[in-house]
């Protein structure tokens, strides 16, 4: 019996009159690779921000890495890593300085931070560029540095919010290699949001979101069987059909 990395019940968020997320009940197991699929505006990012305590829920609650997001935000943030859709690196600083800044924010011990940063930069192939300002790096390198920043403090749960947006196929490929290595080596739970259906294929389980509601949940195989179709893409289209016009690749 493994503990739940995420346990949300009735979680919801309104922005003014707009209901971004209705009432989400969701459990993500420790160690799971969980895909959170849906068209733009389905409430994926809102859900991530709620679970990461960046937003306060309008209703319901959730426990993330064992802590209540309403009452114990600091403990939640300590246990999670979050890679946003857009880069959070300071373009004026070098990769090294950015990671050091993050290490100080996460209150890592100086020596531990140094060895951890060295190891991550080696693993991510960024060693030679560590002294270069972020503005001079390619999109793929920035993304890799963002992920290094996200897992610097060894979180148990990593949120990846549309991590491949704007990356070319080669950078995408190496990003997925990186993430599968990480999962294999550390047993990291990964919560991936995406609107690229093919990216959700390797996930253990997938939730399909539509207009703030959970439209389907299961392993990719289960979802395909339930919908009587051959690919996740068809599941996606069947479950979120009316928003088809908005779902093309960005």
């Amino acid at each position: 019996m493994t503990a739940a990395a995420i346990d949300a019940s009735g979680l919801g968020k309104d922005f003014g009159a707009v209901q971004a997320l209705d009432r989400l009940d969701l459990e993500v197991r420790e160690g799971e690779f969980f895909g959170f699929l849906g068209p733009n505006g389905a409430g994926k990012t809102t859900t991530v921000h709620l679970l990461a305590t960046l937003l306060a829920p309008s209703r319901g609650s959730a426990r993330v890495v064992g802590h209540d997001i309403r009452t114990d935000g600091l403990a939640v943030r300590r246990g999670i890593g979050l890679v946003f859709q857009e880069t959070t690196l300071d373009r004026d600083l070098t990769i090294d300085e950015n990671l050091r800044f993050a290490a100080r924010l996460w209150n890592l011990d100086h020596h531990e931070a140094t060895s951890r940063i060295d190891a991550l930069l080696r693993q991510f192939g960024l060693e030679e560029r560590r002294g270069d300002p972020v503005r001079t790096l390619s999109g793929g390198m920035r993304r890799a540095a963002d992920i290094a920043r996200g897992i610097l403090h060894r979180p148990r749960l990593l949120f990846l919010d549309e991590p491949t947006a704007g990356l070319d196929p080669r950078a995408r490929r190496s990003l997925w290699d990186l993430i599968s290595n990480l999962r294999a080596s550390s047993g990291l739970t990964v919560f991936l949001t995406t609107h690229y259906v093919e990216e959700a294929e390797p996930c253990d389980r997938v939730a399909v979101m539509d207009r703030g509601r959970l439209a389907a949940l299961g392993t990719p195989t289960e979802l395909k069987r339930a919908a009587g179709v051959g690919s996740l893409e068809e599941v996606f289209l069947a479950r979120t059909g009316h928003q088809l016009a908005q779902t093309g690749p960005a």
Binding site: F15, N40, G41, T45, T46, H49, A52, L54, L55, L74, A75, R77, R78, I80, L82, F84, Q85, E86, T87, T88, L89, D90, R91, D92, L93, E97, R100, F101, A102, A103, R104, L105, W106, N107, R149, Q246, A250
Partner: protein, 262 residues
């Protein structure tokens, strides 16, 4: 928090143009505004106008230094760096405090560098006590304006509002601070406004520190030193108290996320 302070300072040093112009700016004022006002006041005063201006210029340097550094929070939000701070396991208030202290450090460094050049140029040699009080005034002013800058930045939607801040906050604050002329001669409305201006207390404190010799002639500080200090401290604390929750509002994250939706 230490990290936030360091980052602010490294960024400042990295932007050479900004560092240089911040040091050069007061001298431009000294030469041009100084010449103009000196011509107006010629023969009428017991003090060289450029000497009178010196504390005000130092106040101006701190104001630009810390206010602009604190306003960079807006850029942090646009660039996403603010989100990195908000998702870290630290309190919102700590982020606000870190930005304010970083801004204070930037403002203070600029003012100290400028003071080292400016004071000899205008022939002011402060006593050790005066120098200490001046430094205290600079740090307190930096804190008050840094906190104000973070509040303004937290309330701003985008960098476009920057010009508005310059016109409706920075320049009125400068002109109502006593940096260029005594505020006591202004009409009642402006005089009252001067009392809610943090920079006015900072400049007043700097005059206490640097213009003691001319105090009898009416050019020294006008308010009690303790009042100046308390007022600046209140601005700083009130600003920080307001800034934390404001930063935590959806502003750090969701607004940007929704704006970027296709």
């Amino acid at each position: 928090m230490y990290g936030i302070v360091i980052r602010e300072f490294v960024r400042f040093l990295r932007q050479r143009g900004r560092a240089l112009s911040s040091v050069a700016r007061p001298f431009v004022w000294l030469i041009f505004a100084g010449a103009g006002f000196a011509a107006v006041f010629v023969g009428r005063s017991a003090i060289d106008y450029r000497v009178y201006m010196a504390p005000g210029l130092l106040g101006m340097v701190v104001m630009f230094g810390s206010l602009l550094a604190a306003l960079s929070t807006v850029i942090d939000r646009d660039a996403g760096v603010l989100r990195m701070m908000l998702v870290a396991p630290i309190r919102r208030g700590t982020v606000a405090l870190g930005k304010t202290l970083g801004a204070t450090l930037v403002g203070t460094t600029q003012a100290v560098v400028v003071a080292a050049i400016l004071l000899p140029v205008v022939g002011l040699a402060p006593t050790p006590g005066g120098a200490f009080l001046a430094l205290a005034a600079i740090v307190l002013t930096g804190l008050a304006l840094g906190a104000l800058g973070v509040v303004l930045a937290a309330g701003m939607r985008s960098i476009e509002n920057f010009a508005g801040v310059m016109n409706f906050v920075v320049f009125p604050m400068l002109f109502l601070s006593g940096a260029l002329y005594p505020v006591r001669h202004l009409g009642p409305v402006l005089h009252v406004l001067a009392h809610v201006n943090p920079l006015a207390y900072g400049v007043d404190l700097l005059k206490h520190a640097l213009l003691t010799r001319w105090a009898d002639a009416g050019y020294g500080g006008e308010l009690p030193i303790a009042l100046d200090c308390v007022a600046l401290a209140i601005f700083a604390v009130a600003g920080l108290a307001a800034a934390g929750p404001m930063l935590a509002r959806e502003g750090g994250v969701a607004r940007a996320a929704f704006r970027e939706r296709p």
